[in-house]
């Protein structure tokens, strides 16, 4: 057995063991109370089988009694139309706001970071304010943001922006200060005009710092949107979770968490692929 396949084997074993414990361990509680802790109660953590059933139901593939309605008259389409925050609509809303918050956060953080990083005057003026603002736990501002911007999309984008902006800002700021001085001299000696020094040395060199912060930024954006949806929203996966919590439906919450996990992994992989393409010149292993 090669190293790689034994890794996969152990990984599969861990997944199966976890699923099995999750599904059946609580059933053994009458026989071994000391072994099975309270939190394994399906009331809290649901069960894989229930979560699966719930996922099918939330996706409008089955009806509430579990019968398959996909492709039937008054089936999936009618079911989706009946709820404007169905799983697909909610996913789209959450995804859309995440990407907007990410895009606006990254670009604004970059521009401000670049300006302050390259201007000693601006950085001396604003640095203390930014540090003070950054030390506020940003999540604490979410209720205010929702109050200010309402329960629509704007408040979610603003929340995501709050988290992403500072991450990218501090990275860019640091990068802009650490532009290799000999590259700047080199360009000037080759008769570069100041705007060329900016576009051909400073911007590409700080971009490498920003690319490195893209993966955490997309995760932060998703966190921001979900928290925003917890506080107040009409649509989104966070809204589905809050409703399910109110009803004590742990299986719905778990199903939503699984959808979020899939979104998170997809976004992170996408950004990672983009990042390694943009930073391909850093690859020394060839």
């Amino acid at each position: 057995m090669t190293g790689r396949s034994s890794v996969v084997f152990v990984q599969l074993a861990i997944i199966l063991f976890t699923l099995a414990v999750w599904q059946w361990a609580y059933d053994l509680r009458p026989y071994a109370k000391w072994l099975i802790p309270d939190f394994l109660d399906p009331y809290f953590i649901s069960k894989p089988s229930e979560i699966w059933t719930q996922l099918l139901r939330l996706s409008c593939l089955t009806s509430f009694d579990g019968t398959w309605i996909f492709g039937k008259e008054d089936g999936t389409l009618a079911c989706l139309a009946a709820d404007d925050n169905n799983l697909f609509a909610a996913t789209l809303v959450t995804l859309k706001n995440t990407l907007w918050g990410f895009a606006i956060g990254v670009s604004s953080g970059y521009v401000v970071g670049l300006l302050l990083g390259r201007s000693p005057f601006l950085s001396s003026v604003f640095e203390p304010f930014l540090i003070a603002f950054n030390s506020i736990p940003r999540i604490a501002l979410v209720p205010l943001v929702v109050m200010m911007f309402g329960i629509g999309d704007t408040s979610k984008i603003v929340t995501a922006w709050l988290l992403v902006f500072f991450l990218v800002f501090f990275n860019t700021f640091e990068g802009a200060r650490q532009v290799d001085r000999s590259l700047l001299s080199m360009a000037r000696l080759l008769q570069a005009k100041e705007w060329q020094v900016t576009t051909k040395i400073i911007i590409p060199s700080t971009l490498t710092w920003v690319f490195a912060s893209l993966t955490p930024s997309i995760s932060f954006a998703l966190i921001g949107v979900i928290v925003g949806e917890f506080i107040g929203a009409r649509q989104g996966l966070g809204r589905i979770m809050m409703e399910a919590q109110a009803r004590g439906q742990s299986s719905v919450m778990m199903a939503t968490v699984i959808v979020l996990m899939i979104i998170g992994v997809t976004l992170a992989l996408g950004v990672k692929a983009l990042q390694s393409y943009l930073l391909r010149w850093q690859d020394e292993a060839r």
């Binding site: 290799d180 000999s182 590259l183 001299s185 080199m186 360009a187 000037r188 000696l189 080759l190 008769q191 570069a192 005009k193 060329q196 051909k200 040395i201 590409p204 060199s205 490498t208 391909r280 010149w281 850093q282 690859d283 020394e284 060839r286």
Partner: protein
């Protein structure tokens, strides 16, 4: 020590360069680093005259201020006193003359640019048309034996290859005067000789005026027409040696000749005195 001599020690008195016009000259050039009460004199009262087409080395022990001297000529750092002129016109710091090409000691290839785009960087900045750009870059790549690496990024290259890229990036701009700050200092002995061959080859064809900073006597002897020996800190002109070896030179066989050995030991003695001064401080 400060004297405004009409015929500074550094002027060539014989050889083919003696009749050529002076390109670069410095008078009473000094550089003092540090604060009011903690001053370090790096360069003191240096008078230099570099003639058209001359290959001049500034040789001296580490820390003698030879790089500082070169960087003042390049305009990278301001002088504390004295003057620098290029073709009779006084130069100012922070103003980089297009007549000057500069090669750094450390690697200054742009990491996110391919070999081709690194070499073409200056041409791109100048906005030359793509036909000229492609021709010049292609020729430079062939000359530096970088064919096949056009699209490689610097991180994939050896130190010697990276320095060839830097050299070519400066040379494609066809500077009349080349200022080189220990450009091969970080390379191993073999690669260094390779670079000497390449540089001599290019110089034989184009005869740029070169000011070459080094602490390596063998390197200075191999390449130069004239060696200006600087004293240990503060850097002053200590002695000037004419290097009359026949050209074109071969970087390897030159070292096997008697006249090379004689001049080597002669200068080595002088250089050794300066090394000892550094050691005793």
């Amino acid at each position: 020590m400060s004297s405004m001599s009409p015929n500074p020690a550094s002027l060539p008195t014989s050889g083919p360069a003696a009749s050529k016009p002076t390109r670069i000259s410095t008078r009473n050039l000094s550089k003092v680093f540090g604060t009011e009460d903690n001053q370090v004199v790096a360069v003191e009262d240096v008078d230099l005259d570099i003639r058209e087409g001359e290959f001049v080395s500034l040789l001296g022990p580490s820390g003698c201020g030879k790089s500082t001297l070169l960087n003042m000529i390049a305009g990278l750092i301001p002088s504390s006193s004295g003057t620098i002129s290029l073709d009779g016109e006084e130069l100012e710091a922070d103003h980089f003359s297009p007549k000057l090409g500069y090669i750094f000691q450390r690697d200054t290839t742009v990491p996110w640019r391919s070999v081709k785009k690194n070499i073409g960087f200056g041409l791109e900045l100048a906005g030359v048309d793509s036909k000229t750009y492609n021709r010049k870059v292609r020729d430079a790549i062939a000359q530096a034996r970088l064919t096949g690496f056009e699209n490689a990024f610097p991180a994939m290259l050896s130190g010697g290859m990276r320095q060839r890229v830097s050299l070519m990036r400066t040379l494609v701009m066809e500077p009349e005067i080349l200022l080189m700050d220990e450009p091969f200092g970080a390379l191993d002995a073999h690669t260094k000789i390779d670079m000497h061959r390449l540089l001599l080859d290019i110089w034989e064809r184009q005869h740029q005026t070169v000011v070459f900073v080094t602490h390596d006597l063998a390197e200075a002897l191999t390449l130069s027409d004239r060696i200006i020996l600087l004293s240990s800190r503060p850097g002053r002109v200590k002695e000037v040696f004419e290097v009359g070896f026949e050209r074109p030179r071969d970087a390897v066989t030159l070292r096997e000749t008697d006249e090379y050995s004689r001049l080597f030991s002669h200068i080595w003695h002088s250089l050794g005195e300066e090394m000892n001064t550094v050691g005793s401080q």
